[in-house]
């Protein structure tokens, strides 16, 4: 069992480096220069631009830039005056030591900017995930219980439509209906900005209703199908037939034998699901002007703020890798068949 987990942890390491290399390559191949984005004024002279490039380390060969980004450059001297001799000690500590560099546009550590946005995204994502899991599992079990009846059909239709409807469009529709026409729910942001005073739970919840509903719909759609399939699979197993054969009531068979085994894969799916929370709301955050990670990365992409873009990608990927590992651990805990191996 520990061997299995150990192997999974070791496998995550090359994946992590793959993520850093790939995101670095994409940024590297980008036309346009971040410095040019800040100094587009024709009056800025070449000396200033060169100085800026050297300070950001953009004059270095790509491989060295990558190394600096990964492990920092405080072990070497940086040449800031352009005479080919390094004289200023490097300041960066690198990704592996928790330093993602500074945002070019906002001139603040990327780590701080991301840390600032994470709670907003988590609030949205975790609420949607919880509702999605509860509703999805309940609907999935119901669909399996009432297999091939109208209940099953109705749940299938909900799930198919929930998958096919474009999230941003549903968000727009809900804004039109509940925000503009009926005017009963706020349509953007996390709280009423004109209100004075501290945190108001009712206000915060009202802002969450629409985005959380849209986000959870995808989970409901996916999980109700997934749960249904798992349950139907389990119901065909021999031990379920045995349970029926020894005269157990349907209710007991369902609760004690089918549900436990059928929901096992669903439970382990929670790990990767948590991993996608940080990145899962990009479009919805844009629709509802929600100040989370998604809006951060969209703004960063548009202003070509590469350190911020790469930082967001890496953090979101680390979350995902951690989520997958979490689900491996949960599998081992929940499924004795693996534990005994």
């Amino acid at each position: 069992m520990f061997k299995y987990l150990q192997r999974r942890f070791i496998q995550a390491i090359p994946t992590f480096f793959g993520v850093t290399i790939l995101s670095y390559l994409v940024i590297l191949s980008a036309p346009g220069d971040p410095v040019a984005m800040i100094t587009f004024s024709p009056r800025s002279d070449k000396a200033t631009i060169d100085l800026m490039r050297r300070q950001l380390g953009l004059d270095q060969p790509p491989l060295l830039q990558y190394v600096y980004w990964l492990v920092g450059n405080d072990w070497t001297m940086i040449d800031t005056d352009g005479d080919g001799v390094g004289e200023t000690p490097g300041q960066r500590r690198g990704l592996l030591r928790g330093d993602l560099g500074n945002s070019i546009k906002q001139k603040r550590p990327v780590m701080d900017l991301i840390a600032q946005r994470i709670p907003a995204t988590l609030r949205l994502g975790v609420a949607a995930l919880m509702i999605g899991f509860m509703m999805g599992v309940v609907l999935g079990v119901l669909a399996a219980v009432f297999h091939r009846t109208w209940v099953d059909q109705a749940i299938r239709i909900i799930s198919v439509i929930g998958n096919a409807v474009p999230q941003f469009w549903l968000g727009l529709l809900l804004i039109i209906i509940f925000g503009v026409q009926l005017d009963i729910l706020p349509i953007s942001g996390m709280q009423n900005i004109t209100r004075r005073g501290g945190f108001d739970l009712g206000d915060a919840l009202r802002h969450m209703v629409l985005p959380v509903f849209v986000l959870s719909l995808n989970w409901i759609a996916f999980l109700s199908r997934f749960t249904r399939t798992q349950m139907l699979e389990v119901l065909q197993q021999d031990y379920v037939r045995t349970a029926y054969a020894k005269g157990l009531q349907t209710k007991v068979v369902w609760l004690r034998h089918a549900l436990k085994n059928g929901l096992l894969p669903v439970a382990t799916f929670l790990g990767p699901a948590i991993g996608t929370v940080l990145a899962g709301a990009v479009i919805i955050e844009q629709v509802f002007q929600w100040p989370g990670m998604g809006k951060l990365i969209i703004d960063a992409v548009f202003s070509r703020d590469y350190p911020l873009v790469m930082g967001s990608v890496v953090i979101a990927s680390i979350m995902f890798i951690a989520g997958v590992l979490l689900s491996d651990v949960m599998y081992v805990i929940l499924d004795p068949r693996i534990r005994l191996e």
Binding site: Q11, P14, T15, F16, G18, V19, I21, L22, S23, V26, I27, S29, A30, P31, V160, I161, N163, A164, V165, P166, Q167, F168, W169, L170, L172, L173, I175, I176, V180, T276, L278, A279, G280, V282, I283, Q286, I297, I298, V301, F302, V309, S312, V313, A316, S317, F320, I321, V324
Partner: protein
């Protein structure tokens, strides 16, 4: 006694009896023909220009003044724009799904068949690509390259092959141990021949289902990217970028929000339904029931 038919003919017969799938296929066919064909008629026979703006005719309601679906904030004909937008969305869905699946099959078969180093390398790529949130990568890639339709198709395929490859790899792993592969090898068939004529036909049916689902997903992804403003750039209309500015006309032009979304939803729904139908038709276990 049951008449003996080939696997594919039997699947075809099954689909022909499946009314929902036939309906979805017909809707897609009609949409494709209209979107691909009518721009020719519109430009040459009716002499209309989809990008023609007209200030006095802004925010016309549907049906008003001969505009069947009204006009947008620049006075452009919404109906024409929907047709042109559909042409872009459907082209991307068809071509990118084929390309995605092609890359996925090729890499998946290489990984599954050769194993060892090849498998390690490809699996590393798969794990890496699937660890990065897909929308983040697409967002960066399309912001960085400001894609034309062709570039967007390549980008979508280059980032989307992972699932297919994983699926194919798993299938090949089990298929290559089968007796008929062993027999082919004993007869001296080359690797290429074994892969192409013995393994490929057996993964093809599963891949066809995936391809249909991918096509539906691609329409959603493309519309999302366009909505965010990083997909196909205006004035070329797509169903997604027609909604980009919709916030600013929630009051004056609500009709502009409805139509693109409904078309996206119907198209995606039809691709999913066809995928479901194909899955049932191509499922070998169907015979046992």
């Amino acid at each position: 006694m049951r008449q003996s038919r080939s696997f594919w003919r039997d699947a075809l017969a099954f689909i022909l009896r499946d009314r929902l799938t036939i309906f979805a296929i017909s809707v897609l066919a009609v949409a494709t023909i209209v979107c691909m064909g009518s721009p020719l008629v519109i430009e040459n026979a009716l002499n209309l220009d989809v990008n023609e703006t007209s200030v006095p005719n802004r925010f016309m309601q549907p049906g008003q003044d001969g505009y069947p679906l009204g006009t947008d904030q620049l006075g452009r004909d919404q109906f024409l724009r929907l047709i042109y937008g559909g042409r872009v969305s459907l082209t991307i869905a068809y071509l990118a799904s084929v390309l995605t699946v092609f890359i996925g099959i090729t890499l998946g078969m290489l990984a599954g068949y050769y194993g060892r180093g090849v498998d390690d390398l490809i699996s590393w790529g798969v794990n890496t690509l699937s660890a990065i949130p897909p929308l983040f990568l697409l967002l960066i890639a399309s912001a960085v390259w400001e894609p034309s339709t062709e570039v967007l198709i390549i980008v979508l395929a280059a980032l989307g092959w992972v699932g297919t490859s994983r699926l194919v790899r798993g299938e090949v792993l089990s298929l290559k141990e089968r007796d008929y592969v062993l027999a082919a090898r004993a007869l001296g068939a080359s690797d290429f021949r074994i892969v192409v004529s013995h393994i490929l036909p057996n993964v093809f049916s599963i891949v066809m289902v995936t391809m249909t689902i991918i096509a539906g997903n691609l329409i959603l992804i493309e519309s999302g990217l366009s909505y965010l403003g990083v997909g196909i750039q205006p004035p070329t209309p797509t169903w997604g970028n027609m909604l980009t500015d919709s916030r600013s006309y929630f009051v004056t032009g609500v009709h502009l929000v409805f139509t693109p979304g409904i078309l996206i939803m119907i198209t995606v729904l039809c691709f999913y339904l066809v995928g479901d139908g194909l899955r049932d038709a191509l499922d070998p276990r169907r015979y046992q029931k």
